[in-house]
Symmetry: C2
Subunit: 268 residues, 2 copies
Amino acid sequence: MSPEDISSYVKFVQKLATAAGAETLPKFRNLASVENKKDGGGFDPVTVADRAAEDAIRALIKKTYPDHGILGEERGTEEGVSAFTWVIDPIDGTRSFITGIPTWGTLIALNDGDRPVVGLMDQPYLDEQYVGAPGRATMTRRSETRALAVSNQKDIHDAVFSTTTPEMFATPEKKEVYETITSTVRLNRFGLDSYAYCLLASGLIDLVVESGLAPYDIQALIPIVEGAGGRVTTWTGSDAQNGGDVVAAATPELLQAALTILGPASEA
Amino acid sequence: MSPEDISSYVKFVQKLATAAGAETLPKFRNLASVENKKDGGGFDPVTVADRAAEDAIRALIKKTYPDHGILGEERGTEEGVSAFTWVIDPIDGTRSFITGIPTWGTLIALNDGDRPVVGLMDQPYLDEQYVGAPGRATMTRRSETRALAVSNQKDIHDAVFSTTTPEMFATPEKKEVYETITSTVRLNRFGLDSYAYCLLASGLIDLVVESGLAPYDIQALIPIVEGAGGRVTTWTGSDAQNGGDVVAAATPELLQAALTILGPASEA
């Protein structure tokens, strides 16, 4: 993919985020307002917001890139005739969305058939937009864009660690992994969903470990973390784009230290 | 205290928040910038930010209310000659502050010698300011102020629960309390510090349980939660202004259900 292609896809993904934000932000902390708009199937308000955002994104993709495929959390898969697929989670962090915590986000990736090449995480309440592409990652807030870079943290004992919830570690082997990591690192942070990967790309968190992710939970975040110089793999060190057991680390040394702990508990 | 007195204290506490924000916000996600300004004692950058904010607050209090006492996290107690004491935590949620998570806050309470009557939580990155006073609580964002009200949640099985970290539940009895509550409620949210109480006052979280709090961790939040119609007590149902084991609940019924679980594990 040429640099010109990348640039135009980045512009397009930002347009998608704007369309999604127009659906999500007015409903944030205001879910009672959509109670009466349930679309007949008995869905909860957050599902209504989720679907409205995904539909807005899908409509723009179909208009602009009609031969691209789409994989979304809410509306499933539509095969394309080209190799390209857009991978969408309209509201990642729905538990934060419904409880008023401003770290949910809209995730959109463009996968070229081999891997996610462009990724975006948009948080409209914070007015923060994280974008990753080959060789670069940026964060835009209040029209100001700055380059992101991961930390230099190599030592797991000094690392800032994050995972969304201890409940992710469901098997006895995973519970043991959770105990080992949270007692080894310097600081634990919980509850962040995709925002943790954005803070890792920003050099503020060093290590993220999660389990049970779907492809649309992680694909948008891979270009952001890698574009900032970090690494994302499964717990056995392989390609993480299909989700499952995922680890993101600021440095290869920190990744290796985490994989040593995680590998034996992997379900892959 | 007259309504006029309350109003002037509310205006003053907002002035204090502005002064604190001028010290904290420029250092948020930018702690490397204060590395070289360590004040000789080997303090970490967040301590430097914390102290600068508390010093700014103290200077204004001394100028405006020279006979009031001050109790702050960073600089200890200064006795006043009047019954009034300002109770300050310049950066509540320092772990969020250093890891880039925008849910830390500046906490300031005015205690009339009997109880905290005015309380403020200010989050300058979000531009959110929560203020509580007898009979009312408000949130101001982007110059827009709206009244806060807790939820009507009475059933602990349907409640949204929050605690800052499982690590707060340190004794075997408290670990059991943690397991019971997190497995009883509908949804658990972690990592929020004082922001959880503000979301409770906003009707978005129903129950907060914490342990090991200092007076400056909780006093500012009591008028906010109570002003929004909620309740704050210790785990045995008594006055929470001295900190320790604390519970905040949206309704008396929910508080009672929580106290039944919490009471036996209380250290008070």
